[in-house]
Amino acid sequence: MYLAAAVAILFIMSLALARALLGPTLFDRILAVNMFGTKTVLLVAVLSLAAGDSSYLDIALVYVLINFIGVLAVLRFFEYDPDSRI
C-alpha cells in the first residue's frame, strides 16, 4: 500500500518533470520545480514510514524549507530588472 502511494507520487513527479522540460515560459518551469519539490517531500515521508525510520522525516522537513527558499531565490532574480520580459 505504501508502494501504491509511492507510485502515485512518482507519477505526479514525472508529469511535473515533463512540464519543467517542456514549459514554454520560465514561470511554468518554476511552478513545476516547486511542485516537484513538494512531491519529493511526500515521497520521503512515505518512504520513511515504509522503512519504519522516523529520522528520515528530518530530511523531509529540510526539503520543505529549502524548496521554499529556492523558489524565492528564483523570484528574486526577476526583481533585478523590472523591464525584463520572458
Binding site: T40, V44, I66, I69, G70, A73
Partner: protein, 332 residues
C-alpha cells in the same frame, strides 16, 4: 528520471531553465541517496544541491546575462560537434567494459565492505558511544580528513574573496554599500510569513547541529541550513538589513573561529597528552572525551560552513546590487 533531467540540462539552451533543471536533478539524486540508505548524504545534497548551488548560479547569471537575446550561432562545423560525442562514447565504452570486474550492487563480499568499515560499525558503539556512525567516523576516526575538508572550504572562500571581495571601479566603495533593489519587500504576505519562518529554520539548524549524534545531521548540514535562514532574510528584507544583522567582517572572523575551533581541539588533545585530534583525553574517560571532542569539532565545522556560505552569498549578491546600481546610473 535522473538521466532525463541530466539530458534536459544538456539540450535546453536557456540557461535559466538549465539551472531550474539542475535543482530538480539535485533533488532526485538526494532521493536516490535516501533510497540507498544514506540519509546524511541526502540531507546534505538536498540543502546544498537544491538550495545553495542554484542560488549562486542564478546570481552569476544575473551578473553575466546579456541584455539582448544572443544571435543564433552560425552552424557549427561537423568537426566541432562530432568530436566531443566521439570522445564521450569512447570513454563511456571503456568505463562500461571496466565495470564487468566491479562487485555487484549491494554485494556484502565487495571490497568496500571488508576493510575498515565493519570495524567502524562494530566498535564505534563501545568506543565513541553515539548511535550515528557517520558522525563518529566523520569527526573522530577520520578527523584529519574532515579537518582537511574544512580547510579546503576556507581556502575556497578566500579565493572567492580575492576575486569578488573588492570593486575595481576606482571609487573606493565596498560591495556592501549598495542599495539592494531586488528585495522582495513589496510582497507583504511573504514578508509576514518569512518573519515567522526564519526563527523556525534557525532553530531547526541548531537541532540538526546538536542532534547530529543521534539522527542524520551534523556540522556541515546545520551550517548550510543556518546560512539558508539568513539568506532568506537577506532576500526578503534586502542586503542592507542583513549586513546590519551580520556584518561581512564578522563573517570573516566567524570563518576563522570555526577552523580554529577544529584545529584547537586537536592542539588541546595534544596538550593533554594524547595524539592530535585524539579526543579520548578530553573527558573523564574515553567515551566522554569522544563526546566532547565530537561536539566541539562539529560546532567548529558548523560555524565555518555557515559563515562561508553566507559570505559567498553576500559577495555574489552585493556585486549584483552594484552591477544594477551602475546600470541604473547609466540609464539616467
Amino acid at each position: 528520471m535522473l538521466l532525463v533531467t541530466a539530458l534536459g540540462a544538456v539540450f535546453i539552451r536557456d540557461l535559466f531553465a538549465v539551472i531550474m533543471l539542475f535543482g530538480i536533478y539535485s533533488l532526485v539524486s538526494a532521493g536516490f541517496f535516501l533510497d540507498l540508505s544514506a540519509p546524511d548524504v541526502a540531507l546534505t545534497e538536498a540543502a546544498i544541491g537544491a538550495g545553495v548551488a542554484p542560488l549562486l548560479m542564478l546570481a552569476t547569471l544575473a551578473l553575466t546575462r546579456e541584455k539582448t537575446t544572443p544571435q543564433p550561432r552560425a552552424k557549427r562545423s561537423i568537426h566541432t560537434s562530432l568530436l566531443p560525442i566521439l570522445v564521450v562514447t569512447m570513454t563511456g565504452a571503456a568505463l562500461v567494459y571496466a565495470t564487468f570486474d566491479m562487485p555487484f550492487i549491494a554485494d556484502p563480499a565487495g571490497p568496500a565492505h571488508n576493510h575498515v568499515a565493519p570495524r567502524y560499525l562494530q566498535a564505534s558503539g563501545a568506543e565513541i558511544g553515539i548511535p550515528n556512525v557517520v558522525t563518529s567516523v566523520l569527526a573522530s576516526y577520520r578527523g584529519f580528513d574532515t579537518l582537511g575538508e574544512v580547510f579546503v572550504i576556507f581556502t575556497a572562500e578566500i579565493g572567492v574573496l580575492s576575486l569578488l571581495g573588492f570593486l575595481a571601479d576606482g571609487s573606493g566603495r565596498q560591495y556592501w554599500q549598495f542599495e539592494d533593489t531586488a528585495n522582495l519587500r513589496r510582497h507583504n504576505i511573504l514578508h509576514v510569513v518569512s518573519k515567522a519562518l526564519i526563527p523556525v529554520i534557525l532553530i531547526y539548524a541548531f537541532y540538526v547541529q546538536f542532534h547530529g549524534d543521534y539522527s542524520p545531521g551534523g556540522g556541515f548540514q546545520a551550517g548550510v541550513l543556518f546560512a539558508a535562514g539568513f539568506i532568506l532574510y537577506a532576500m526578503i528584507f534586502g542586503l542592507q538589513a542583513a549586513y546590519r544583522v551580520v556584518s561581512p567582517t564578522a563573517l570573516y572572523w566567524a570563518m576563522a573561529i570555526g577552523v580554529l575551533l577544529y584545529g584547537g581541539t586537536g592542539v588541546a588533545s595534544l596538550l593533554l597528552g594524547g595524539n592530535y585530534l585524539d579526543y579520548n583525553v578530553l573527558g573523564s574517560d574515553a567515551v566522554h572525551g569522544q563526546h566532547n571532542g565530537i561536539l566541539i569539532v562539529e560546532l567548529g565545522v558548523g560555524i565555518c560552513v555557515a559563515a562561508v556560505m553566507m559570505s559567498v552569498f553576500f559577495k555574489f549578491s552585493g556585486r549584483t546590487a552594484h552591477f544594477y546600481d551602475d546600470r541604473r546610473e547609466v540609464r539616467k
